[in-house]
């Protein structure tokens, strides 16, 4: 929802970044206020996923220009783990598989680490078990997930549910969901989208990075941005997503040129 008096969560000004010698982001501007849902769309290679990773602090990318403020703080000077503790969450397109580390112990470690950093109470394994099982209902997840190794052998849909489960545990102020819809069948898409909707409040902001309009049938965006060549070249409301679905991306690029 758009409220003009809502506090600003994220302000990105002229952000430029590269990997190795290759410039990928070439001046991105974006403002996200509390309560808003932003969708970032665009063709392959337009820099959408890079933008998501740079916001979360992936070490492979070097920021070479611009600034990013998160709740008024310079986000770029924080280490990735500090960003997470401060309330930035990145839902991965390809979550990492870690054999041998149980999902339960990973979830508890991340929950307690972030709780601790925010000066809140940590939970012991028994308390956490009750707590996480409640959260899992939100995503219609079988508690058997807790005993499995972190993401190891999970299907695409299971991995994405597990990502949103982490979002539910960490209660971020800003959630950046990178292609959360990829690899999901229709049922899983509905479950994951419902989960995100339930976690969305007037206090937090969501940035959805996606190729397809279909996710936006479930999670309604307040703004739709089109990325091309490392820049946001057009911004509109949810009707823009529908137009992109029927007409493709090319016309936007032509129009912007």
């Amino acid at each position: 929802m758009i409220r003009n008096d809502a506090p600003e969560l994220l302000e990105v000004r002229s952000l430029a970044a590269r990997i190795g010698e290759r410039n990928i982001l070439k001046g991105i501007n974006l403002r996200v206020r509390a309560g808003e849902v932003h969708a970032i769309m665009g063709p392959n290679g337009s820099g959408k996923s890079t933008f998501a990773k740079v916001l979360a602090g992936h070490p492979s990318y070097e920021v070479i220009g611009g600034e990013v403020l998160f709740k008024g703080r310079n986000l770029l000077e924080l280490a990735p783990e500090e960003r997470a503790r401060a309330g930035v969450f990145l839902g991965f397109q390809y979550p990492i598989e870690v054999p041998g580390v149980s999902n339960a112990s990973f979830l508890r470690l991340t929950y307690n680490t972030v709780q601790g950093a925010r000066g809140k109470d940590e939970l012991d394994p028994l308390e956490f078990d009750d707590f996480v099982r409640e959260k899992m209902k939100l995503l219609e997840m079988d508690p058997a997930f807790l005993e499995r190794s972190l993401n190891a052998g999970f299907s695409g849909g299971e991995k994405k549910r597990n990502e949103i489960l982490q979002m539910a545990l960490l209660e971020p102020k800003l959630a950046i969901l990178d292609e959360t819809d990829s690899g999901l069948d229709i049922d899983a898409l509905r479950v994951v989208a419902n989960g995100v909707n339930k976690l969305h409040t007037a206090d937090n902001g969501i940035v959805l990075v996606t190729h397809y309009q279909r996710l936006l049938n479930y999670i309604e965006p307040d703004y739709v941005h089109v990325m091309e060549g490392g820049r946001i070249i057009k911004t509109g409301d949810k009707s823009l997503a529908l137009e992109l679905e029927s007409r493709g991306y090319e016309w936007v690029a032509r129009e912007a040129a």
């Binding site: 979360a56 602090g57 992936h58 070490p59 492979s60 280490a79 990735p80 783990e81 960003r83 997470a84 503790r85 969450f89 990145l90 991965f92 979550p95 990492i96 870690v98 054999p99 041998g100 580390v101 149980s102 112990s105 990973f106 470690l109 991340t110 680490t113 972030v114 950093a117 190794s149 972190l150 982490q166 960490l170």
Partner: protein
């Protein structure tokens, strides 16, 4: 690779100090005269001298193995002193009589053996260089008929047992280093569990290499008679030296009908510095013979030290229904090289073996798993399961797997699984994006990786081993 990972392996060796105890060192070099001298100093019977000389003569005809996937300069076997013993004052009956200097050494290592022994209920047969200086709990063990003593004592007090089993699993001429050991071994441990006895406590030996440039040639022999059970722990630390030290031990295990031997090792010898200077050459022959029906031998090893590790704890599954297990974690860092694994030789019917190997490579190190599963023609119904996983930390290290499978019986089932994973930027970033810092992430990933092996360790060893891995990898990511 990021500086995080580079730092993860730069932990100075904590146990690097030399204990100043006067040593009785034989002049460098090896000849029949030196062997006679060693045997004479130890007051050995004629048959043992013959065993040594036979091994030596065989050794002279052998060449160093060149097949391991490790590189090191040629060893000058005439440049090594083959005997060194702390000058014994008199025979020690209690811990109070142990040289205080020696006790302080153990304190520095964090192994206060008297406390440790009492707290953990462990009898510690302390090996200091090559001669045992103290054996505790001997009395308690003696009550149930368990013999646990230094090899030299066993030769004196139980010559028939030693003579019966010495070389019965690893023959004197088995391989280059086993032959060398058979010729010059100075001491080690002997353990005998009589028929039907379940050893009332875990038996533990702490090895420590002390005198510079003296090779270590330990000899361990464990015999479990019909229905006997024993769990044996071997733990090692060594002081820091710049010259490479050769360690060529031989461990022989014999399990008769229904007997069970569990042998666990945590090895943390000096691995050399960051540039690969110094460190121990660990060329060891460990082999167990499941001689009786329903017998079982289980090896668990956590290898974190040594410049070079060349070690294949093996099981010969001779008795019908016997089983062998090998659980291994081998961690290499900096310039360390490890070529380690196991051999499971199925001879009897319905024999079973299980291999779980976890290799962790960091820095510029090279870690190879080499294993043989051999099913003999008469091993009807034999089964093997092998799992070999490698973990790479950073992008400058190497991991290799060399599984050899030879099957001569069509009823056998052999399974082999292997995986390679890495801790790189993407793994660490995933954890970081959940608020978890690099060191904690590495520790969690590694502990998860080695879990299947660590659950096999006795409890207090598992704690120690977990700390050891943390210590070894601390600061290597950052």
């Amino acid at each position: 690779m990021s500086a995080v990972i580079q730092n993860l392996v730069n932990q100075p060796y904590k146990h690097g100090f030399v204990t100043d105890i006067e040593s009785d060192v034989v002049a460098k070099g090896l000849s029949e005269d030196v062997i006679r001298l060693i045997s004479g100093k130890k007051g050995e019977p004629e048959w043992l001298l013959e065993f040594r000389l036979k091994a030596y003569r065989h050794w002279l005809t052998m060449t160093e193995p060149a097949w391991p996937n490790v590189k090191y300069p040629r060893i000058d076997f005439q440049g090594i002193s083959y005997y060194s013993a702390p000058k014994a004052k008199k025979k020690l009956a209690s811990m109070d009589e142990v040289d205080p200097e020696l006790l302080r050494t153990f304190e520095k290592l964090g192994v206060p053996m008297n406390e440790r022994a009492a707290l953990a209920g462990v009898a510690v047969d302390v090996i200091f260089d090559s001669v045992s200086v103290a054996t505790t709990y001997k009395k308690k063990l003696a009550e149930v008929g368990v013999i646990f003593c230094s090899f030299s004592e066993a030769v004196k007090d139980h010559p028939d047992l030693v003579r019966k089993y010495l070389g019965s699993v690893v023959p004197a001429g088995d391989n280059f280093y086993a032959a060398l050991n058979s010729a010059v071994f100075t001491d080690g441990s002997f353990c005998f569990i009589p028929r039907g006895v379940r050893c009332p406590m875990e038996l533990s030996t702490y090895f420590r290499i002390n005198t510079q440039e003296s090779g270590q040639f330990e000899r361990t022999l464990i015999v479990a008679e019909e229905g006997a059970h024993v769990s044996y722990l071997e733990g090692c630390t060594a002081p820091k030296f710049d010259t490479n030290q050769l360690h060529a031990a031989v461990v022989e295990l014999v399990a008769l009908d229904d007997a069970e031997i569990k042998y666990s090792t945590v090895q943390n010898w000096y691995a050399g510095d960051e540039n690969g200077k110094g460190g121990i050459y660990n060329f060891v022959t460990k082999r167990g013979l499941c001689k009786g029906i329903n017998s079982k031998i289980s090896w668990t090893q956590v290898e974190t030290g040594s410049a070079i590790t060349w070690k294949y704890p093996s099981c010969i599954l001779q008795g019908d229904n016997s089983s062998g297990e090998f659980y291994s974690v081998a961690l290499t860092n900096h310039r360390q090289q490890a070529d380690t694994g196991t051999k499971m030789v199925h001879v009897g019917k319905n024999t079973r073996s299980k291999i779980i190997s976890k290799g962790i490579s960091a820095g510029f190190s090279n870690n190879s798993y080499r294993g043989l599963v051999k099913i003999g023609a008469r091993a009807e119904g034999a089964r093997n399961f092998s799992q070999c996983d490698s973990m790479l930390i950073g992008d400058k290290c190497g991991a290799n797997t060399f599984p050899y499978i030879q099957v001569a019986n069509s009823s056998a089932k052999v399974e082999h699984e292997a995986s390679t994973s890495k801790i790189g930027e993407d793994q660490l970033f995933y954890f970081a994006s959940r608020g978890i810092g690099n060191e904690e992430a590495v520790s969690m990933i590694i502990n998860g990786f080695v879990q299947d092996v660590f659950v096999q360790l006795p409890m207090e060893f598992a704690v120690e081993a977990t700390k050891l891995l943390g210590l070894k990898l601390e600061g290597s990511v950052g």
